[in-house]
Symmetry: none
Subunit: 249 residues, 2 copies
DNA sequence: ATTTTGTTTGCAACTTTATGCAAGTTTTCA
DNA sequence: TGAAAACTTGCATAAAGTTGCAAACAAAAT
């Protein structure tokens, strides 16, 4: 039996069964396992299948995890989170919106920090709750399924009775002209109220979201006190955002 | 069985059940627990799931401080959850407390069910929020770290303004003499209010918690309408709980 | 037909990996 | 606090992989 012929049979076998053991192939094709191994290796190099220890698996055999969202731009978000935490002082009341960047903030809280957190995001609240030195208050309301945050009139009403020292807003998109914008009206409504009641507000955005814009405005740049990105504050990329009253971190 | 194959099965198992015990996987896949542990570790390093003591939990199910205890006895808990869901009717307002059994209820909700859920538990709310046919309202307040539920006067006040059709109380311990009891005062306070405002209340308890008692009473048995365990309603084990006005499920 | 040339194959020696086991440590929960 | 369960670390073993090499083979050239 010629080599190309044999490899074709191997390929068919793999695609039918989704996997194949080289011991089985060796027996089926009456060649040594070494030969099979070399064949599988070649086929794998051509991308026809995936070689694994002991045999091979078909290309269609994909880990479910491929679609699972691993936290996007994780390193950047961690850097932002650390800078944001630098603003915290014991005794503060801090209002936090949702999003993965804020989740990183919650995850990276240093032990010993004693602040009161107020949030509308379920995942952020869960993470914050692990930090036993600080207190966490959740602002209840109708849970908006995709963003996993409280929305609606009741949230707004509750927010208006608060006056936190600092607000951390995860930014969906931000540009110098349109300011902080978002695509979901329910979220915009909540973020607006969050900013309005807070003494100071910090927008958290990975730099890839800078200079992008979506449909609805949360606030103007001038209404923010801090803009936190993963870049150093003096990065030329940030110069469009360098305005009086706005501190870049 | 090839290693990637095994890991894929593990991942499937995790994503279907939201949590797995490595002892179960070990039996299912006929490999030692050490191997399972190593697999889980690898998958966790790849961000495909989250490793916890004794097993793993799915990524999509971000329950932050899951412990061995919390992923325990899920077969029983799913049985209970299915029975509880049998009580649901479209249009109902349903109040749900925390605990892993209620979490199962949230996870197993059938598509198409249109009810309004009210809850004080962060993990339950997160799970409920994925069920887009129903509406989820979270009752905000101070988050009690270990139980991950809202507690405090504000929760009570809010609860008193509601009148849900059904209340699902996860039971920490329950016995015929002392009724439903719990060990954490903050939780007891909330559960009491939950029961008081609801037209009907169901206690959910795996049978191992029957005939146990802890320090503080939530309510008497006679103040409950349903007791749901994983056992059939006519199980002799349940006879001490067979009282007028209390339906065993 | 025979030689040459290059490829393919199987084998042997050695390295690496996967897995299970055991001893000791940590965590959890009663 | 103390027992049970789970984790860690190290190790032994077997299976799989690697490399080098020589025999076998096919195809091309003489």
């Amino acid at each position: 039996m010629l080599k190309p012929e044999r490899q074709l049979l191997i390929l068919r076998e793999v695609n039918v069964h989704n996997k194949v053991l080289q011991a089985d192939l060796s027996e089926l094709l009456n060649v040594s396992e070494d030969t099979i191994r070399r064949d599988l290796q070649e086929l794998a190099e051509d991308g026809k299948l995936q070689k694994v220890r002991g045999g091979a698996i078909s290309n269609s055999f994909q880990m479910v995890g491929a679609t699972e969202r691993e936290i996007y731009a994780y390193a950047e978000k961690t850097a932002i989170a650390r800078k944001a935490i630098g603003l915290f002082r014991n005794g503060m009341h801090i209002l936090i919106s949702g999003g993965t960047t804020n989740l990183e903030v919650a995850r990276l809280l240093p032990p010993g920090l004693k602040v009161t957190f107020l949030t509308v995001s379920l995942p952020v609240a869960m993470q914050l709750a692990r930090h036993t030195d600080s207190e966490t208050l959740f602002i209840g309301g109708r849970i908006s399924g995709d963003a996993q945050i409280s929305t609606g009139g009741e949230v707004i009403r509750k927010l208006l009775s608060l006056s936190p020292d600092l607000c951390l807003l995860g930014a969906n998109s931000i540009d110098p002209v349109n300011g902080l914008t978002d695509s979901d009206w329910e979220v915009v409504e909540v973020k607006q109220a969050m900013r309005e009641v807070s003494a100071q507000t910090a927008a958290l955005a990975i730099s890839e979201k800078l200079n992008t814009c979506t449909k609805m405005r949360v606030c103007q740049l001038s209404e923010l006190q801090y803009l936190i990105t993963e870049r150093p504050p003096d990065d030329p990329f940030l110069s469009p955002f360098r305005t009086p009253g706005l501190t870049l971190l």
